[in-house]
């Protein structure tokens, strides 16, 4: 029985087990250190809430990484969405709030539209013009933030309708609605990347774009789709930020990009393209969330926290590198042994 389970775990993705063990370890550690506060329902609830924004951004980065690219513009897309929606709501919602729900649905449509358009711009610059992803999205990051600044003159949009805030705070069966929606989107992204033809093409293109082109993959189309999906998720995240913080600002949450890059690398998505399983990102997200909450409770300053995250990243890269090297050595030794024994056997 136990052997059976162990065997099954061994068969599974190595990264998955590793991350699951780290998450469980951190959870137990925090329970042991500050169990009284850590396990309180209010804390668990706020942790589930806090998962959503970095989670959505990490999804954007994950899909960009798989295509051997990067998307630095995600946070500014989200902020732009928030600002445009904020202006729209301020102009159109009646004082008594009777048309708020309809306008919020319109906002959702606007978010999707802006997200897709921004993503399309990124995609065109990368796939058609041929600019490197890091440069193209650095440029669009400034452009999107600039548009936000021009629209707001650097001030914040806020005071959104009550319906939006109620939606943001809603719970279904004790779990925050936003978290559930995030998990649904996450599952959808996993399915898209690992179960659809597009996902397969994405991974091919990420690992070797020349080979994928010669085998008939339309690299331009795949790149466009990738950045549009990334933009779409960033746009929806803009709605989430509106609902959660009741404000929208052109330079909100710039450090989310670093966090998302970190989450994906820890989750085993290779920035060199093509390799990695999207579901692992959820685990690394959970591990980082537990760690972040833990640091908060232990009163570690945010700057030190970022520094420890930096250490973590380097250590995880180091461990991956050692594991990879050892695996290569074992394979090598096997090959050598085979070559030595085979002729003798003949």
């Amino acid at each position: 029985m136990i052997e059976n389970i162990l065997g099954r775990i061994k068969k599974m993705d190595r990264k998955f087990t590793q991350l699951a063990m780290i998450s469980v370890f951190l959870f137990v550690l925090m329970t042991a250190l500050r169990g009284d506060r850590f396990l309180r329902p209010a804390n668990i609830d706020s942790m589930l809430f806090q998962l959503v924004e970095p989670g959505l951004f990490a999804m954007c980065i994950a899909i960009a990484y798989l295509s051997k690219g990067i998307d630095l513009s995600i946070v500014t897309i989200a902020n732009l969405v928030g600002i445009v929606n904020g202006i729209l709501l301020r102009r159109t919602v009646l004082p008594d709030g009777s048309n708020a729900t309809a306008m919020l649905l319109a906002c959702l449509a606007v978010s999707v539209l802006i997200g897709l358009l921004c993503g399309l711009l990124n995609g065109v610059l990368i796939a058609k013009v041929g600019i490197f992803p890091i440069l193209a999205t650095l440029g669009t990051q400034n452009v999107f933030m600039g548009i936000g600044m021009i629209l707001t003159r650097g001030r914040a949009e806020g005071n959104f309708p009550k319906a939006l805030l109620e939606f943001g705070n809603a719970h279904v069966g004790g779990v925050p609605l936003l978290t559930i929606l995030f998990l649904v989107m996450f599952a959808a992204l996993c399915a898209v990347v690992h179960k659809t033809p597009y996902g397969l093409k994405l991974q091919w293109m990420g690992s070797n774009s020349k080979a994928s082109w010669y085998s008939g993959v339309d690299n331009v189309k795949v790149t466009l789709t990738t950045y549009m999906i990334s933009g779409l998720m960033a746009g929806l995240c803009g709605m989430v930020i509106m609902a959660r913080s009741n404000s929208a600002k052109a330079d909100y949450g710039v450090s989310y990009v670093f966090q998302a890059l970190l989450t994906c690398v820890l989750g085993g998505i290779s920035p060199l393209g093509g390799r990695g399983k999207v579901y692992n990102v959820l685990l690394s997200l959970i591990a980082l969330q537990i760690l972040g909450t833990g640091f908060n409770m232990l009163r570690v300053s945010p700057l030190i926290r970022d520094s420890i995250f930096g250490f973590l990243l380097v250590i995880s890269i180091l461990l991956d590198y050692i594991a990879e090297k050892r695996r290569a050595e074992i394979l090598n030794r096997r090959a050598v042994n085979k070559n030595e024994t085979d002729p003798a056997g003949q």
């Binding site: 610059l125 013009v129 041929g130 600019i131 490197f132 890091i134 440069l135 193209a136 650095l138 440029g139 669009t140 990051q141 400034n142 452009v143 999107f144 933030m145 600039g146 548009i147 600044m149 021009i150 003159r153 650097g154 052109a250 710039v254 670093f258 890059l261 970190l262 690398v265 920035p271 060199l272 300053s301 700057l303 030190i304 970022d306 520094s307 420890i308 995250f309 930096g310 250490f311 990243l313 380097v314 890269i317 180091l318 590198y321």
Partner: protein, 334 residues
């Protein structure tokens, strides 16, 4: 024949920034004649001085094939540690450190931090920007935890640094002078140009950025080249930090925060290829000049400051697009 020469000029990486600088200067000067005054020129050059030194370090790493995100924290770490060390020595032991010593310590600390970067980068097969992003966070945390996070005000700063920051030369009749940091920046640029162009190590940096496998087969020790690259870039970053701090006369640990992208963008606009193997000091100088002309002078012609980001973003995209097209042409010519 003439056509061929024109094509060559158009394909030159630095050509674009020259054209844009001339164009923007003409427009700014036409709208507001104050643009073409010596005071404005001197101001512009002073603002450009320490970012230009930083940009030289960024360029070296970029040529080697990677985007360095840690340079500002390397600079701040070195400058802040040196200022703190010498301000304590000055206050408690009455030791007024000579300027050379202060900047030598900055360069040394920067080079040591750079060697950490080199270890990370040559050890792992991960993009440089990820390793340097995490090392930036590590440097920042170490600085705040173990060295300090409070401001060092002018009255506590090493006296020679303050005296240095008040030095000007090439005074005009009205008594306005060019800030001394511009001379330092120029010296660093000449030095880096010389190293990159005329030494074997410098050429090997270009080679490594162009083709790793070929460089290894020729017989270069890749790890040694990388160590050289990151230590040189780190040392330059340390010096830039020192100059930056003395320019402002206050060691404020948060001062450079969030300006990485502006400097990286300036280097790229100046024609350095983001995948490595190409880039020049002249291009860097032009790129820094161009970005600062824009950010400093849009206000002069009546554009509200909130347009800065937008224009800057457009500039990056435009420059990158032109580069991409140039490279396409080059590939077709071969």
């Amino acid at each position: 024949m003439k056509d061929e020469r024109l094509k060559k000029l158009l394909l030159k990486k630095e050509f674009l920034s020259v054209v844009m600088i001339v164009l923007f200067s003409a427009v700014f000067g036409a709208v507001n004649p104050a643009f073409f005054t010596v005071v404005n020129l001197y101001d512009l050059l002073k603002v450009c001085s320490y970012p230009a030194i930083f940009a030289c370090g960024v360029m070296i790493v970029l040529i080697n094939g990677g985007v360095d995100f840690s340079f500002l924290w390397v600079g701040m770490f070195s400058a802040y540690s040196a200022s703190k060390l010498f301000s304590i020595l000055q206050a408690q032991h009455g030791f007024t450190a000579p300027l050379i010593l202060i900047y030598a310590v900055c360069v040394l600390i920067g080079a040591i931090l750079g060697s950490f970067n080199a270890t990370f980068v040559s050890g792992f097969k991960v993009p440089v920007f990820i390793t340097t992003l995490s090392s930036a966070n590590i440097f920042m945390g170490i600085m705040f935890q173990f060295i300090g996070s409070e401001y060092i005000f002018p009255e506590q700063m090493p006296a020679r640094m303050i005296a240095f920051s008040n030095t000007v030369f090439l005074k005009t009749a009205s008594g306005v002078g060019l800030h001394v940091s511009v001379a330092v920046a120029a010296a660093v640029m000449v030095l880096v140009h010389f190293i990159m162009k005329y030494t074997l190590m410098g050429r090997s940096v270009y080679a490594l950025g162009g083709d790793i496998a070929a460089t290894e087969r020729i017989g270069f020790n890749l790890n040694r080249v990388r160590l050289f690259v990151y230590m040189l870039a780190g040392g330059i970053g340390g010096l830039a930090g020192g100059i930056g701090v003395s320019n402002i006369q206050v060691a404020n640990p948060y001062d450079f925060q969030g300006r990485e992208m502006t400097i990286i963008a300036a280097v790229v606009i100046g024609g350095a290829r983001i995948t490595g193997g190409s880039g020049s000091v002249a291009g860097v100088a032009l790129g820094v000049l161009l970005t600062n002309i824009l950010s400093q002078n849009l206000v002069l012609i009546g554009v509200p400051p909130e347009y800065n980001k937008f224009v800057f973003g457009l500039l990056i995209i435009f420059a990158a697009a032109v580069q991409a097209v140039q490279e396409k042409f080059e590939r077709e010519r071969r």
